[in-house]
């Protein structure tokens, strides 16, 4: 966990630098009629840099003294997490192409089959019914435009 601590602190430090650079560009002094646009972000970025630097240094010191500490992810935990994370990203990417409801259909079917090992009958039933129900509720009833994707509009005629 210490390594993750150092890593995250470093990442946040980088974010702090990103904010700092832009706030310098915007100007962080007193402008014509008040603080310039970069004033607030400048102080924020300084804050982030100081805090994350101290967090990182503390973590490095602790790591040196006590070693890596507990595991970040418990035994056997990484696989289920990746099984959620990667297909979710896949679903989002797929949404760009075929729209969210069809992507969800694929996502549901994939997860149910690959992880849940559920029988084909149930898989087909659920992965068609649920997106259909949500499509009716959100797109038709509440009239919220949800992503159709590049080809999705043609795949669903209604």
């Amino acid at each position: 966990m210490r390594k993750a601590d150092i890593f995250v602190a470093a990442l946040l430090f980088v974010i702090g630098v990103i904010v700092l650079v832009d706030s310098i560009r915007l100007g962080f002094r007193w402008g014509v009629s008040g603080p310039e646009a970069g004033f607030f972000p400048f102080s924020l970025s300084v804050g982030i840099l100081i805090c994350t630097a101290i967090i990182g240094i503390k973590a490095i010191k602790k790591h040196g003294k006590e070693g890596p500490g507990e595991r970040l992810i418990p035994e056997g935990g990484l696989k289920p997490i990746l099984w959620v994370l990667l297909p979710s990203i896949g679903m989002v990417i797929l949404t760009e192409f075929i729209g969210i409801h069809l992507a969800a259909l694929v996502f549901l079917a994939f997860y149910m089959r690959a992880v849940g090992k559920i029988g084909w009958g149930k898989v087909v039933l659920v992965s068609i019914l649920v997106p259909m129900a949500l499509y009716v509720v959100f797109d038709k009833l509440f009239l919220i435009p949800l992503p159709q994707g590049i080809w999705g509009g043609k795949l669903i005629p209604f």
Partner: protein, 503 residues
């Protein structure tokens, strides 16, 4: 008293058939959301905000807040029956609720939990009804410096009293404010931190962040332990209810104390989660039968539950009077208010009294009816969890995605959602508090504009924030609270030294 008259008017609004129906739907959805992992109170409300855009403000806010009340009740169901907290504020309930259920007294545990929730809710709503107008009156005198100082007080409370590493809390807060600043600056029209990216011009929306942080993040946390939803069967019988009342009578001190802690924690932002832990800790320390805690002690259920619900309801108070949400879920609800074009704060009482009192009225109605609903229909809600997790999980992610997209109709928000999910998971594991980051994201623009206006008024001098009579004591309180851990540890050292002294 004018306030009683207002309250009755509010109750009248809340009990109008349309609003009442909306509250019922919200409550049921809320309990379901509370029961499911990954769809939490903050998250569930966030997803439904785009839906409420089609509704008028009053029923819209009633829906959103009813979901919160329902989720407060619902989180306990899985804690007691499955040893899996359905909500972050139900974690403390697992300590004694589940053991009690294992001993065969699941019905009793559920009843104690729900009744304690109800008690906390009543105290919270009573406080809300009576103090809201007073504080709103007071807050009308607030200028930008005062507004900013109250926000500083809020965040200082997180740092000084949050119980987590001050550095990490600060980092979380700064990060939240930075995220809020990305995009176009309202005052100067300049683009900040966008580095030429069109996507970043729109900035980060707090709804998307909440759905990612609390939704996906929660799912990652649930999955990493490979949870199985094996639950204890339970029905709530009439006998359980009468026994529950009797037990509550025995432990009335714990109940009142828990509810008070809850209301206090709801006022200064922190919310239901820290309130529940604090109450549990206090109850255990004060108890005569400490060893029973962790094995099914009644007080171990009563205290955190009363606190959690008290905090949840009283979180409404600073939100509507000062525009400072008392809990992450309340922050989301406040965001919903702003989307309706209503700015929470003292002006709301002046300009839209029917709205404010209608909301307060529905707090009464919602929490009391919610109690009845969970007492009567627990097995129904439990049945929701019988659905196989491998069906539930992708469905939850799917619903989250819909919610995230519906905010601004941007695909990039879906990617942000996943990103925030990872952040939420990492932050939870590494003990970075998420609530202050969410609050900073919601309040970011308001805080910055208040600061800028104040500085302009003060001609660039930061002393403007310390001007009496209002800003000065608030700033002093903020500084004291900020350094509270240092103060307490210095006091301990001093005490130790004097006792070790000669003699």
């Amino acid at each position: 008293m004018e306030n009683v008259h207002n309250l009755l008017m509010g109750l009248g609004v809340a009990l109008q058939p349309h609003n009442f129906l909306v509250a019922m739907i919200g409550l049921v959805l809320g309990v379901i959301v509370g029961v499911l992992p990954g769809l939490g109170g903050a998250n569930g409300v966030a997803i439904l905000i785009p839906l409420t855009v089609t509704m008028a403000p009053i029923p819209g806010i009633i829906l959103l807040s009813s979901i919160y009340w329902g989720a407060l009740y619902g989180g306990s169901i899985t804690s007691i029956l499955f040893n899996i907290p359905g909500e972050p504020w139900s974690v403390a309930t697992t300590f004694d609720g589940y053991p009690m259920a294992k001993k065969g007294q699941a019905g009793k545990a559920l009843v104690l939990s729900f009744l304690s929730h109800g008690a906390g809710a009543i105290l919270g709503v009573v406080m809300l009804s009576f103090f809201a107008p007073i504080i709103a009156e007071f807050a009308l005198k607030f200028g930008p410096a005062e507004i900013f100082s109250v926000m500083l007080l809020t965040f200082s409370a997180f740092v000084g009293l949050g119980g987590k590493s001050a550095l990490k809390t600060l980092a979380s807060i700064f990060l939240g404010f930075s995220l809020a600043a990305v995009g176009m600056d309202i005052v100067t029209g300049q683009l900040r931190m966008t580095y030429g990216s069109v996507d970043l011009m729109g900035g980060f929306n707090f709804i998307v962040a909440v759905i990612g942080l609390f939704g996906l993040g929660e799912i990652f946390l649930t999955v990493e332990e490979g949870l199985k939803m094996e639950g204890i069967k339970a029905r709530v019988r009439i006998r359980d209810i009468t026994e529950g009342f009797k037990e509550l009578g025995r432990f009335y001190k714990t109940l009142i104390f828990g509810a008070l802690i809850g209301c206090w924690m709801g006022l200064k932002p922190g919310g239901a989660t820290p309130a529940s832990f604090m109450a549990y800790g206090f109850a255990k320390q004060a108890a005569a039968n400490k060893e029973e805690f962790g094995h099914g002690a009644s007080a171990g259920i009563i205290a955190p539950e009363a606190a959690a619900h008290g905090a949840g309801t009283s979180a409404t108070l600073p939100m509507i009077t000062l525009g400072i949400p008392g809990s992450p879920t309340m922050a989301v609800i406040m965001g919903g208010l702003m989307i309706f074009g209503l700015t929470p704060g003292p002006m709301l009482f002046v300009e839209h009294p029917d709205f404010v009192w209608g909301l307060i009225g529905s707090c009464w109605v919602g929490n009391i009816i919610g109690l009845i609903i969970v007492l009567a229909f627990t097995p129904v809600f439990v049945a929701v969890l019988k659905v196989r997790f491998s069906i539930l999980m992708p469905a939850i992610v799917y619903i989250c995605a819909i919610g995230a997209y519906a905010v601004n109709n941007r695909m990039i928000d879906l990617y942000y959602m996943v990103g925030f999910g990872v952040v939420g998971y990492l932050f939870k594991k590494l003990d970075y508090p998420i609530a202050p980051m969410v609050l900073a994201l919601v309040l970011g623009d308001m805080a910055e504009s208040a600061m800028r206006q104040a500085l302009i008024i003060g001609q660039g001098s930061p002393l403007v924030f310390f001007r009496p009579p209002i800003a000065l004591p608030i700033m002093i309180a903020a500084i004291v609270i900020f350094f509270w851990p240092t103060i307490t540890s210095l006091r301990k050292k001093y005490a130790a030294r004097t006792t070790i002294g000669p003699g």
